[in-house]
Every structure is written in C-alpha cells, then in structure tokens.
Amino acid sequence: MKQEVAKATLGVVLIIGLSLLFMWKFQGREDVISVIAMAFLFASVAFAWNIHALSGVVSLGHAAFFGLGAYGSALFAYYFKVGSWIILLVGGTIALGCAVVWHLFFEQLRGGAYTLATFAAAEIVRVVVDNWDSLTMGSSGLTNIVVLFSGTSEFYLVTMVLVIIAFLIHWAALKTCWGLQLRTVREDELAAYAIGVNPPRVRMVSLFVSAFITGLCGAIFVHRVTYLEPSMVFNLHISAMPLVFSFLGGRFTTMGPLIGAFLLYSVDQILLSPFLPSTHQAVYGFAIVITVSFMPNGICAWLARIPQNASG
C-alpha cells in the first residue's frame, strides 16, 4: 500500500512537472497549450468513465452526464447571471441528479442490457433538452456563454487540477480498499456479497462519482467553447470517446486513460491534422487497430510490461 501511495504521488508530481514543462516550452504557442488542456479534459472524462466501468458495467451514455453538466452550468449562468466558478459545481450536481435516476432504474441491469439502456437514456435526455424550448432554448442552442477562464493558461491550469483530481480518484478505484471492493464486484457479485461487500452500493458510489466528474468536465468544456446546442454534447462520439481512450491507454492501469487521451487526442490534433487534412481519420483508425492488436491491454500496460494475460 505504501508503495502504491508513493507511486500515486510520483504520478501527480509527473503530471504537474510535465504540464509546467509544456507550459514553459510552449510559451506563446497557446494552440498547443489549449490542445493539451482539451486532452486533460477528455482524459478526466475517460478517468470518470473508467471509474464506473471498473464496477463491471460498460456505459455508452456518459454523454448524458457531460451534456447535462454543460447545459446545467450554462443555463444557471444565463438565468441567475452568475459568472463565478460555482456554476461548474452546479453542472456536476445536475449530472449527479441524472445519475441518481439512472441508479434507481438501471440498478438491476448488467452486461449488454445495461449498455443499451444507458445509450437509450442518453438519447432520452437529448430529446428532452432538445424539445424543452422554454428552458433550454431547444435546438436554437445557447450563444455567448459566460467565459470563465480569462486565458488559455488559466484554462490549462484548471484542467490540470481537474485531471489530477480525476487521476487520484481513479487511482483509489484501483488500488485502495474501495478498489478491491470494485474488483470483487466486477469479477463476482455473489462472492462480493459473501465477503461483506455491498455490490449495489459500491456500484452506486462509482456511478455517482463518475457522473459528477463527467458533469464537471462538461461544464468546463462549455465555458471554454462558449457555444452550446444539444447535438454538440449529447452525441455518441462523446459517449464512446472515453471508452476508446481508456481502452487504448490501459483500463486497469492508473495512468491508462490519461495516456490514451493524451496520445490519441493531442497527436491527432497537433501532428496529423496539419499534414493530412482529409486523411488523418484513416491514420487515426490505423493507430487504433495497431494499438489494440499489439498491446491488447493498452499502451500503459505494455509500457509497464504487465503480462498480457493478466486482466484483473
């Protein structure tokens, strides 16, 4: 355990160190900084998604949390004329509220049924937001949303803090006692009952934490982009992206989702797009296929040489 704590500390130091290094190296190159910041943001979503996935179910509906977080905080800022950072928490809380409803209805579902139900649930949220014109402006969308971050560096630092928090919770979900509980729940629910773990509660906590972080990410995202319409946040792309990032990075490694998001997002944005404006998607596809073929447990596991047959 002590060793793991040391590793986590090392991880945090590494993230902070590298972030500051990048900030120093790319002074005046806000484009790079902002891409890395976006990568941090999506890495946090990936961490959040994986915290939930570690309880043994795959969600394809995290766009609902992301979008509700974005809508919640943007609308709160709009109606109550609030321009402080509190609104980010409002976004997270509304996503949490959605998670409570999910938990009430989907608690019994597992496997494919759960995945399908979450996907459908995200669709329901989208249609409601899209049609509730009087509250959400519907498909007209929101423009000129309050900008919370005065500059790119501020945005960068905020996402850095966010990713560190997400990293620590994700680390806890793998290495601490809670992590062990999650593991028993994902591997054998009956056995978990037998050793005194309460699977519904463990699963619920992971869902709530995951939803809150995802909602927070959505809120931060919208105050950066400053434009919002339903199909922008409530889409399959947002739901599937964390899955791809955590999978390629390594689902059972503490750093996996971050590495996955960082490599896939920033390399695509910074290196591929300029040179291959219309074929970079194919290269992206090849990268995914090759990574999964040669590193079936993800880049991080491959780097740390975790044996390929250890899945737990």
């Binding site: 249609v127 074929t279 296929v289």
Partner: protein, 286 residues
C-alpha cells in the same frame, strides 16, 4: 381510417428495414461474439456496389443482389477473421478494433466515391389497397418480403437442418458444442457467410430507402446494435418482432406527437422493456 392503415404499412416496412439492417450484425455477434462496429460501413459498401452497377450497367435490384452479396460475404469475412485472429479477444476489444476499421473504411469511401450523397433511383410500382386510398410501393413490398423471407429462411435452417442445429448449439454454448464435436471455426465461417448474405441484401435496399454517404454507416450500426442487444443472442425471431415494435413506436409517435419525439419514445420503449425483462428474468431464476 385509410390514414391509419397507411401508417401501419409504413411502420411495418420501416420495422422490416430495421430488421434487415440488424440481421447481419446479430448473426456475427451470436456466433463469433464480435461487436462489429464496421457493420454499417459494410452495408454502405454493398449499397455503393449496387449503385455503381445500377449506374454503369443499369442493373435492377434482383440482378445486383448476388454481386452485392458476394462482395459483402468476402468483405465481412476479411474483417471478422482479422478480428478473430487477435491475440486477445473480448467483446470490448472487438468493439474498439472494428471502430478503427470503420474509420479506415469511411476514409476509403470518401476517396473512392466522394462525399456526395447517392441514392439508387427506382421507379416504384404502386399497389393500391382498400379502394385506392392506401398505397404500398414495390420497395416496401421488397422490404417486408425480404425481411420475412430472411427470417423464415433462417428459422428453417436453424430448426430443420442438421448444420443449423449445430449452429444454434454453438450460439447457445460454445464450450458444450466443442465437446459435442462441432468444429467451432467452421460454424464461425458459416455465421460470417450468413451475416454477409444479410448485409448484401440490406445494402442495395439501404441505397433505395435511405441514402449513401461515406459517413452514413453509423445509423445502421446503431440500429443494429439496439435490435441485437434487445433481442439477445441467437433469437432471430425476436429480432423481427423488435424491429416491428420499434417501427410502430417511432411511426405512431411521429404521427401523433411530432417527429421531434421520435427517438424519445423508441428509447423509452427500449428502457422499459429492458427493465421489465430483467425483473421477469429475476423472478424466473428465483
């Protein structure tokens, strides 16, 4: 009154269309446990093949079908065998890897067929019912008969032939099937061939009902995933029932509440049925 009959016809042809889109996916998933996200892209490929044949050689639906089927079978086999030969294979792995393949395919189509939207123009024949107030077009008839035919054919294959029973056994319990001496690779091959045939039928119809576009594959893939997960492994008849249910739900919602609530009701129906099925499953197992 005629309105509702017409609505009914529309629902059933739409439901049959959904079933046809899902059939190939469901077969591949049941036999090989691969969630093929490139499924829609393969349907689009079959559609493009039919489109080119129709443009260059002015072939009709029935003439293009065999060629589209042949190409779909081969391309599905290439994709699925590639995934099957991965060192590690779980459903999630297959999901991600076929997602990558789908991206590559989309880009290939963009290069080959350009970003233009394409449809196969068809001169529909109409058949009037109920004294001429209700119409059914030939494409709708194709949709309904082909989906019924495909499901019926599969039903006979699964229930009446020896190889079909072996395939069903493989779907239900792969380990037990292996113990019974059923060669799993051969069954997977059979699953791919059947899935390829289904995709080859769906493609040319897709080009007639909807439109072709390099990025259009996502819609049929989503539809296929929904229906397959909804029906469950190897339950081919439920697939048709599910398709019809969705078709009726969507069409009636769009009629009575407006098109904007379409996805809402179909998603609601899905969630409710999933929860109820789960609850019933629990009761039964106790």
């Amino acid at each position: 009154m005629e309105q509702f009959v017409q609505l009914f016809i529309q629902s059933f042809s739409l439901g049959s269309f959904y079933t046809l889109l899902a059939l190939g996916f469901a077969l591949v998933f049941s036999v090989t446990h691969i969630l093929n996200l490139a499924h829609g892209e393969l349907i689009i490929l079959a559609g493009y093949v039919a489109y080119v044949l129709e443009q260059k050689l002015s072939m009709g639906l029935w003439e293009t079908l065999p060629i589209a089927i042949a190409i779909s079978v081969v391309s599905l086999m290439v994709v699925v065998s590639f995934v099957l030969h991965q060192r590690r294979l779980s459903e999630l792995h297959s999901l991600i890897i076929t997602f990558g393949i789908a991206l590559i395919l989309q880009n290939c189509y963009l290069g080959t067929f350009s970003a233009n939207y394409r449809i196969i123009f068809h001169k529909s024949r109409y058949f009037s019912l109920l004294g001429g107030h209700v119409f059914i077009s030939s494409v709708q008839l194709y949709l309904i008969t082909l989906s019924l035919g495909a499901i019926g054919g599969l039903y006979i294959l699964f229930r009446k032939t020896f190889i079909g029973k072996a395939l069903r056994a493989t779907i239900q319990d792969r380990f037990a099937a292996q113990m019974a001496g059923i060669p799993i690779p051969r069954m997977q091959l059979l699953g791919m061939v059947l899935g390829g045939i289904a995709i080859g039928i769906a493609g040319p119809l897709y080009a007639r009902v909807s439109y072709l576009h390099p990025a259009a594959g996502i819609e049929p893939t989503i539809e296929a995933i929904i229906l397959t997960l909804f029906a469950g492994m190897g339950r081919i008849r439920i697939l048709l029932a599910g398709g019809w249910l969705l078709g009726v739900a969507e069409t009636t919602t769009a009629y009575f509440l407006g098109s904007q609530w379409r996805e809402f009701v179909s998603a609601m129906v899905l969630v409710v049925i999933l929860i109820f099925r789960e609850a019933r499953g629990r009761e039964n197992s106790v």
